[in-house]
């Protein structure tokens, strides 16, 4: 009985993906006529090549390859930026006597309250004013403007015993030394967990990239989804094989990372709590 429920639940989540996968193996005409079927065709190579190297749109620059690269840059850039900035700020807040510490704390943690979606238009205007449209900086940096990672590292640093910093000081380690030689190595697991969560989060961004990137060579895979839906509506023969393959390519990297680094991912997710 327990197994029946679990199997049904797993199928509920998995079957749609399998159907997408199936349509990438068959010729487009089969899919247009019948939709997903119970056969495995031999077109997977063709569809993969079309997805990776053929472009749709005007400029011919938004190939799967290009979008994959942009997604990688966004995912990794976002995760690294967030972790580096967050760790530095958390270190300053936890380990230093600062006169305006409370003020800085509130300034930083108020950002947890409002998601990007509610200030999306003014953010766009500011990015425009600063000349950041269609740049990687414009794509990544505004997304970093919240304190999730800072909060997470602050909680973690606070749980590290006081004796450690005392011992380090007695041994003559300065603040920079202590950070690089002790705190960073000690936080390895936390950094890994944060990296996975932030990479997935960055990779999956949609609204901000949709607004800030209009040049086709700046599209990410997830940003490109909109164009795929429009292609399938188009007048010419809808290329289901290519479109569904691109959707799969957009899904796979973050999913594989979550599956392979499951324990870190779950730890990061449930311990950050916010």
């Amino acid at each position: 009985m327990d197994h029946a429920v679990l199997i049904l639940g797993s199928l509920f989540l998995l079957v749609p993906l399998l159907m997408v996968l199936q349509t990438t193996t068959t010729p487009d005409l089969d899919t247009i006529k019948n939709g997903p079927q119970f056969v495995i065709g031999n077109r997977i190579d063709d569809n993969f090549m079309a997805a990776m190297f053929k472009a749709s749109g005007f400029s011919g620059e938004n190939t799967g390859m290009r979008m994959l690269m942009n997604s990688m840059i966004l995912g990794i850039g976002f995760a690294v930026g967030k972790i580096v900035i967050g760790m530095m700020a958390a270190y300053a807040l936890v380990y230093f006597r600062l006169r305006f510490a409370t003020f800085a704390f509130w300034l930083i943690f108020t950002t947890l309250l409002l998601p990007l979606e509610v200030r999306i238009l003014p953010s766009y205007e500011i990015a425009q004013k600063l000349g950041l449209l269609n740049t990687y900086t414009g794509l990544i940096v505004p997304l970093i403007a919240s304190a999730t990672a800072t909060f997470f590292f602050r909680q973690y640093f606070r749980s590290i015993p006081e004796e450690l910093v005392e011992a380090a000081r007695i041994d003559g380690a300065g603040p920079v030394r202590f950070f690089i030689d002790i705190l960073v190595p000690l936080s390895q697991t936390m950094i890994a967990a944060m990296f996975i969560i932030m990479f997935v989060y960055g990779w999956n961004q949609y609204l901000w990239p949709t607004m800030v990137t209009t040049d086709e060579d700046m599209y990410t895979l997830v940003r490109g989804i909109k164009q795929l839906t429009q292609d399938l509506e188009g007048t010419s023969i809808p290329q289901y094989g290519r479109a569904n393959m691109l959707a799969l390519i957009a899904i796979l990297p973050p999913v594989l990372i979550v599956i392979f680094f499951q324990s870190w991912f779950v730890k990061g997710l449930t311990e950050s709590d916010k």
């Binding site: 429920v5 639940g9 997408v20 230093f96 200030r119 970093i144 800072t150 609204l207 569904n244 709590d273």
Partner: protein
């Protein structure tokens, strides 16, 4: 702040600088601008703007369309939150019980976490394709003539289903980790005291999971309000028409497409207040949560 901290003056400022710079430029500045432009009426051709006081807000309050969208968002949020929590709780309880294949089930039930909302919407379009979509067929076999994008109720149903599909894994992960942190001694005591598994669940497990549930409730409401943007956008194929939409989607449509900056900003401010209210509730619940465990 640690008791045994460092006293260097310049270093902490330097460390805080990038974080503060980013949030001031890309958080406080836009947030302030949203509040400011909500009091102005922007000329649609870009020739300056006029101060109109609370006009944008009174317009929203009187708009029947906005009221309709707000009502839809409320129903949508309730449905998505309820179904994704209930389904995830059921699956987590079962996954916590089984021994064989426990790890495989866990993987099979959490991978969807990493699927982007618009991609989930894209898969939804495939499932609800008018001529052969497997779910359209299924609905037809029950006599339900499902037309995504044409019939507003059908589009709403698809939005709810896809949003639930996408959200079950997050809730599952949290519920499972909540269940696994219930001490073995408590479970064993319950086992001795009560033979009925159903009563054990409602009398022991469920109350112990309540803190996780409260926390998830807020997370899910926020998800349904904001993160479903990509799902809504792909399912209506960027063409709202007479399709239902959520409040966040309306902000985007009015501001970005309709160039009604003032109206859109007023809507943003309404949402900000809503999120702030939710957060206050959340903090109070988090406090209670500490008392619980």
């Amino acid at each position: 702040m640690k008791r045994a901290g460092f006293t260097t003056r310049w270093l902490p400022m330097l460390l805080l600088l990038p974080q503060l710079a980013v949030i001031i430029v890309f958080f406080y500045w836009p947030a302030a601008q949203a509040v400011q432009s909500s009091f102005y009426l922007e000329d649609p051709f870009g020739f300056g703007s006029t101060f109109v006081g609370l006009d944008n807000y009174t317009y929203l309050a009187q708009s029947t369309e906005y009221a309709k969208i707000a009502r839809f968002t409320l129903v949508f949020t309730i449905l998505v939150t309820f179904f994704s929590l209930a389904l995830a709780l059921l699956l987590a309880v079962k996954a916590d019980k089984v021994i064989r294949g426990a790890k495989s089930y866990r993987t099979l039930l959490m991978w969807v976490y990493a699927v982007a909302p618009p991609v989930a919407g894209f898969i939804g379009l495939l499932m609800f394709n008018q001529s052969w979509g497997p779910l359209t067929e299924l609905a037809k076999s029950f006599g339900w003539d499902f037309t995504l994008g044409v019939n507003a109720t059908d589009t709403a149903a698809a939005m709810v289903l896809v949003s639930v599909w996408k959200q079950v894994p997050v809730n599952f992960i949290f519920f499972l980790s909540g269940l696994q942190s219930i001490p073995k001694s408590v479970r064993e005591a319950a086992l001795i005291d009560c033979a009925s598994a159903i009563r054990r669940f409602w009398d022991v497990t469920f109350p112990l999971l309540a803190p996780t549930g409260f926390f998830l409730l807020i997370i899910n409401i926020t998800y349904a309000l904001f993160d479903t943007f990509g799902i809504v956008d792909t399912l209506v194929k960027g063409e709202p028409g007479n399709n239902p939409m959520t409040l966040v989607y309306k902000v985007y449509v009015d501001g970005f497409r309709g160039n009604d900056l003032g109206g859109s900003s007023a809507q943003s401010v309404v949402l900000m207040v809503l999120v702030l209210a939710l957060t206050v509730v959340q903090f109070r619940l988090v406090e209670r949560r500490i008392h619980y465990t």
